[in-house]
Symmetry: C2
Subunit: 232 residues, 2 copies
């Protein structure tokens, strides 16, 4: 948010931008824009006609958006598994909605993994516990890849409960965030580049409002930053 | 350069910025700034008193600067070597100047590697040839880490000349750039985030000129993007 504020200040228009998620009409100013943060399709309908850039949308939107490059995270994760001679993984999906409601980015990520690795188990975060971790180790799962860092931390804690050492008995890698959370052992993760996302979202929004030049693309995927630490 | 131009346009001041390297006085405008690209200490003296941000400086400068995060590249390279069970490496240094003239960033990078890996050989790019590659393989060097992608491509070509397969007989990783050069096998590299560097340099420069808010820091190191491909 700080990066967004600073970038807006540089344009001298900090008052003209609203943030989501929200699902009620909002006062769009004459020369204003809007950045929706983690909004939904419902918000998109409300925003029709107002210059909008979606920042890391929680659902697929057919509009200007800036988000972390999940394909990069997935293909780099595959390369890391290959380096570590891992071919049998489990995948922890954070989605609590029905699978049909998942964003396409998430589905594509899972598909990229599946092309190169044997995914022996896909579970939702809520299903992870010590006995599942023990079971995974017994059937030869070498690494747990997690859709999100929150899931990674849950796997890590289940690991400890099961008396297993993450990074030794089984590896853990978060595909999106939480690499800087101070847990022990330190979680390996692709960090979400929040600051860059904010800067690009503001720049893209201002380009749309001012029309100085065409945005390069309606969608910008920025590569997350790999933090290889103790769990992988 | 395109990213720099676009960002300057957003500020409406594309004419007020000059680029280096140059070593002659230049016309600084009243409300102008200057981005030095790969300048030297000599340029720094010329620039005294003019708002300046150094973009990826070729030498250490005690001034505002934006550059790739070499420490990130070095520590991630160490982690990758650990994952691949590599502990014996060779290091190719691009510097053609005397070692005393090397930028501190380069020295620190080499030191980070040395803390965790056995560097059995350090050579300059010009010394790399097929017989050296064969020698390295004979004495058990598992990977060649290169200061820069240009060196990486030289190692790759020497490798082919020696009848060795990069990524199989010996691994190659560039710590700064050239990952997108269309060579076969594809070079693994940390890509320099040129676009982000340009955007941050312009933003930092404008903050200095306009004084809207204090720059967060005089130095910004942006993480390069790991591209794990065939050679590692």
């Amino acid at each position: 948010m700080q990066a967004i504020d600073r970038q807006l200040q540089r344009y001298g228009c900090q008052m003209d931008v609203s943030f989501g998620p929200f699902s009620s009409p909002f006062p769009a100013r004459e020369y204003g824009g809007c950045i929706l943060f983690a909004g939904t399709r419902k918000d998109a309908r409300i925003m029709a006609g107002v210059p909008t850039v979606w920042l890391n949308p929680a659902e697929d939107v057919d509009a200007y958006s800036v988000y972390p490059d999940d394909q990069y995270a997935a293909s780099t994760a595959v390369a890391l598994c290959t380096l570590a001679a891992i071919d049998k993984i489990a995948y922890v999906d954070i989605s609590t909605t029905h699978r049909s409601g998942r964003i396409r980015r998430e589905t594509l990520r899972e598909e990229s993994l599946r092309q190169h690795l044997e995914i022996v188990s896909i579970v939702r975060m809520e299903e992870v516990d010590a006995s599942l971790l023990r079971h995974w180790c017994e059937i030869g799962v070498q690494a747990v890849l997690c859709y999100h860092g929150i899931a990674g931390i849950r796997v890590l804690s289940a690991c400890q409960e099961a008396g297993l050492t993450a990074g030794k008995n089984i590896r853990i890698l978060s595909l999106a965030g939480a690499g800087n959370v101070p847990v022990t052992p330190a979680l390996s993760a692709f960090l979400i580049p929040y600051e860059e996302l904010g800067i690009h979202a503001v720049d893209m929004l201002m380009d749309r409002i001012r029309g100085i030049h065409e945005p390069i693309s309606a969608h910008r995927a920025l590569p997350p930053v790999l933090q290889l630490r103790e769990t992988f």
